[in-house]
Amino acid sequence: MSRPPDLLQGTLDLLLLKIVDLEPMHGWAISQRLRQMSGDVLQVSDGSLYPALHKLETAGLIDAEWRPTENNRRAKFYKLTDHGRARLVRESAEWTRLSTAVTLIVRVSEA
């Protein structure tokens, strides 16, 4: 299996914020969703997922609460805070700007 490309520094934070913006989710679900959404292109190791989540939590961008899953197991659900939402808006705009620029350059040099 060829190794998926490393994520750009800080990109993981953006992805995580985006994912928990959809609905509150526990770590396992987030890891599944990441894989699913990126069509297995981006593979984030389950291990690096948790430190990143905890960092976002300490930074006050996401919040966590313990509640039962659909299988009635208690799990830690992460959801976006107001601060996190503001950050997400700002960062995704930034991302769009950046990727547009990169795409443009790549197309021009291909042409």
Binding site: S45, G47, Y50, E57, A59, G60, W66, R73, K76, H83
Partner: protein, 876 residues
């Protein structure tokens, strides 16, 4: 938005700190949940249960490490490291109880002594006076020809009228006989006022009222109690106002109670107007302390200029009395702390030096410890500890020691303060010295500095090159050149500081010897002294009557060998002084301006104390007003004023009219030996003795020499005292020995304190030197063994080791000697009869240090010489 996010983060951080156990539990639960889900997922893909669990763990890529990363995300990782290192440092200290005990004891002693002294310095010198806007209160000092003259009521009124001050007032200390409602009468410390002193100080009575202007000027029979006396002797009764007490026989009404801050000026029980005669005293002789309050918009320099200009005018308008008067203004706080300042700062400097020596000593010990633990350091670095972390560990160790030191020190200071308050010579506000916030801050700063001294160098030396090198060396660590050099430097610094202290102590001891060397009395143990202080308005005839009566009754006792009266006892300070002119002789300017003690004494005084008559004779007992004026002078007077001339028959006078000598001439009929006037005098003062009654002085002091032992005289005095009359009491009955001990108490206390601290510093330095050499000898045992086998003689090894130690000592000695002049120069005001560069004192310090150093080196040197080659070589 920004600050709210910040607040949230602070809250989350704190949660991470305080709820860590719960968060850790949740972290475990979260990972367990993930593993369970992942395992189930893997099983669904068809893996057997075991494989599925393994795959789930693999995907997490190290559960423990990941959890650790999550914990680090809380932002307190460094704290864990710190806590861990603190525990480690504590364990390391516990494992070396000897080192820890020595270090704690030295740091505790140093910090404790320094803190206690700082508390005293803070109370006496630093803290502002407890009076409103006290920074505007100034002391008016008046000088003439370089010596102090007191203020006079008349001139005080001139100062008070100046534009730069709101007002000025004066006072002098008095001890009237006071009787409260039928009780015993007792001499009571009283401040006599000239001018509105209460208002100038800015205080208001806590009870009743103060004096009006007219009451003070008229010398009204009114009195204010100070708060201490009111609460103590007067029982804090509020119905005292309007009642009367008897002061020197006069009924005096109590009008109010002053708050205790006024005692910053002088610790007295009563404040009362000076008698009317004194309020109108002529401008000639000064006796007042004077205080002015500057206007809030006037700078001190501007006020000084106005005072100086006024002085010039006054010398024109009052040429007879005010010529040459120079007023100087100093802050009241500085003036009140003036006498205590030098002794206190000297003591503080001493204990700071002791603390320095103690810290250096602990640093040297710690360095040695750090070296022996170098392998441990290397191991830690090899296992991935950063050098910074290693440094932190070392600094933590010294920090713990300093913390322990400061705790012991504060406890010691708390105990020591009581001792200091009781033991130090009295100083204004000394009793207020206490543990307070400022002191804690000061002690904390001391602890920080000593932790740096103790920890920084050892930490740097021990961590430098810790990586790898020592690991390769393998064997037991041997004191290499670098480490010994550092340790040697510490020991040299210790010795240098100890030398400075030794020199200071040696100078003060020499001064103390000089103070004691001036002979006071032929038989001081059997000479009784006592005082009969009379009021300043007592008639001369009454003074004469009491003197004659007391002396006659003493002379009638068979046990009395001699008895006499004098104005002030030896070492009891001076009384009246004046410039003296010699008839028919023009004196050099400096001699003509020299102030000479003009004292009264009956002839029996010289016999009782045992002051030999060197030449001529004494005057007779009875002095008639019509008799010719005669005097005896002391040897110093002859040396200064009558060098190369027969003093007998020379006429002198202490009176002047303007610049010319005037008034009655007094004929010198005898010369007596010098007697020390004040314990701090560097050399004897020139003095003239005149018969009692030839000059006014109502504070009578008596000296009585017993043939056998003084007990009988003491009991006889009781009967004499009862017959004296209501205006006089016998006080301060002591032997001359006791009187001298009391008079020299302050310099003796000071010298002993500083000498003991110097000895402590010396012992610490010797310990440092010993420790260094002992360590080196132990480390070089093998080398010595080899050298002995190859034919070296034990004596050579002994000599070499001794030389190595003494080289360090001499180096420290040289440094100390170089530094000492700067410090001893500061204490020259405490030296008596010697200068700060006194050779004997320096020599004594030098010898004591070298002998101590040699003794400290002898043990290790002996051990070096006694190395048994067979044992040494088998050592490996």
């Amino acid at each position: 938005m920004g600050w709210r996010l910040w607040l949230t983060q602070v809250r989350l951080r704190l949660r991470g700190l305080f709820l860590r156990r719960r968060l850790d539990q949740q972290l475990d639960d979260e990972f367990a949940f993930h593993l369970e889900m992942a395992t189930r997922e893997a099983e669904r893909r068809g893996l057997p249960p075991d494989e599925a669990r393994r795959a789930a763990r693999m995907a997490l890529d190290g559960v423990v490490a990941r959890q650790e990363q999550c914990r680090d995300a809380r932002g307190w990782g460094w704290l864990d490291g710190l806590a861990q290192d603190t525990r480690h440092a504590g364990r390391a200290l516990r494992r070396a109880p000897g080192f820890t005990a020595v270090a704690l004891a030295s740091l505790g002693l140093g910090i404790g002594a320094t803190s206690a002294l700082f508390a005293v310095v803070d109370a006496v010198l630093l803290r502002p006076l407890p009076l409103p806007s006290s920074e505007r209160l100034v002391w008016i000092e008046e000088m003439r020809d370089g010596s102090l003259v007191g203020g006079t009521p008349d001139r005080l009124r001139d100062w008070a009228a100046l534009k730069s001050v709101e007002g000025a007032a004066g006072f002098y200390a008095d001890e009237p006989l006071v009787r409260i409602a039928g009780g015993e009468q007792r001499r009571t410390a009283t401040l006599r006022l000239v001018g509105p002193l209460v208002e100038i100080l800015g205080v208001t009575p806590i009870l009743g009222r103060t004096f009006t202007r007219d009451e003070i000027d008229g010398g009204a029979n009114l009195v204010l109690l100070t708060e201490g006396a009111w609460r103590g002797r007067f029982g804090a009764r509020e119905d005292l106002l309007g009642t009367t007490i008897t002061m020197d026989g006069r009924a005096t009404e109590i009008v109010g109670v002053l708050p205790s801050p006024v005692n910053a000026l002088d610790d007295v029980e009563l404040w009362a107007p000076a008698p009317a005669s004194i309020q109108r005293a002529p401008r000639v002789s000064g006796f007042l302390g004077q205080i002015a309050r500057l206007r809030s918009d006037v700078a001190l320099d501007a006020a000084r200029a106005e005072f100086a200009a006024t002085a010039t005018n006054l010398s024109a308008t009052h040429p007879d009395t005010d010529r040459g008067i120079r007023p100087s203004l100093v802050s009241l706080q500085a003036r009140l702390g003036q006498d205590a300042r030098l002794p206190l700062l000297t003591l503080l400097g001493t204990v700071v030096l002791v603390l320095l020596v103690a810290s250096l000593n602990v640093a040297a010990l710690s360095l040695a410890r750090g070296l022996s633990r170098r392998r441990e350091a290397s191991l830690r670095v090899a296992l991935g500890a950063s050098v910074g972390r290693l440094l932190q560990l070392h600094l933590l160790e010294s920090g713990l020691l300093a913390l322990g030191g400061v705790l012991i020190g504060i406890a010691g200071a708390w105990l020591g303060l009581d001792l200091l308050r009781a033991w130090l010579p009295p100083a204004p506000r000394l009793q207020e010295a206490a543990l307070n916030g400022r002191l804690l801050v000061f002690s904390g700063a001391l602890a920080f500095v000593s932790a740096l001294i103790v920890g920084a160098l050892p930490a740097l030396v021990a961590t430098r090159g810790a990586a790898g090198r020592t690991m390769r060396e393998g064997g037991p660590t041997i004191a290499g050149p670098t480490r010994s050099r550092w340790r040697g430097a510490l020991v040299v610094a210790e010795v240098a500081a100890a030398v400075v202290l030794l020199i200071g102590a040696s100078l003060l001891t020499r001064s103390l010897v000089n103070i004691g060397a001036a002979p006071v009395g032929a038989d001081p143990a059997n000479t009784v002294t006592f005082a009969i202080p009379l009021s300043w308005d007592t008639d001369q005839s009454r003074i004469d009557a009491i003197t004659a009566d007391v002396l006659a009754r003493l002379a009638a006792l068979p046990e009395v060998a001699a008895a006499g009266m004098v104005d002030r006892l030896p070492l009891g300070g001076g009384s009246q002084t004046t410039a003296v002119a010699v008839r028919g002789r023009t004196l050099a300017d400096d001699v003509a301006r020299r102030m000479v003690g003009w004292r009264t004494a009956t002839p029996g005084y010289f016999a009782a104390v045992g002051i030999p008559v060197a030449q001529g004779e004494l005057y007779g007992d009875l002095v008639d007003e019509r008799a010719p004026r005669v005097a005896v002078v002391n040897r110093t007077f002859v040396r200064m004023f009558l060098a190369g001339r027969d003093p007998i028959g020379v006429e002198i006078t202490g009176w002047r009219r303007g610049k010319e000598p005037g008034g009655p001439w007094t004929r010198i009929i005898g010369v007596v030996a010098d007697v020390p006037v004040d314990p701090t005098d560097a050399e004897p003062r020139p003095e003239v003795y005149v018969p009692s009654g030839a000059t006014y002085w109502p504070l009578l002091n008596f000296t009585v020499r017993a043939r056998t032992e003084p007990g009988i005289i003491t009991s006889a005095l009781r009967a004499i005292g009862e017959d004296l009359g209501s205006d006089a009491t016998i006080e301060d009955v002591r032997t001359l020995d006791e009187h001298v001990a009391l008079a020299t108490r302050a310099p003796r206390t000071r010298t002993w304190t500083i000498a003991s601290f110097a000895v402590v510093a010396l012992l610490l330095a010797a310990l440092g030197l010993y420790g260094l050499l002992a360590g080196e000898v132990a480390a070089r045992t093998q080398e010595f063994g080899v050298r002995l086998t190859l034919g070296a003689r034990p004596r050579q090894l002994l000599g070499q080791t001794l030389a190595r130690g003494l080289r360090l000592a001499v180096l420290g000695l040289a440094l100390g000697l170089a530094a000492a002049p700067f410090l001893t120069h500061l204490i020259r005001g405490l030296l008596v009869g010697i200068g700060p560069a006194d050779r004997v004192a320096l020599g004594a310090a030098l010898v004591v240090l070298l002998v101590t150093a040699a003794l400290a080196c002898l043990g290790p040197a002996w051990r070096a010489a006694r190395v048994d080659p067979r044992v040494a070589l088998r050592h490996e």
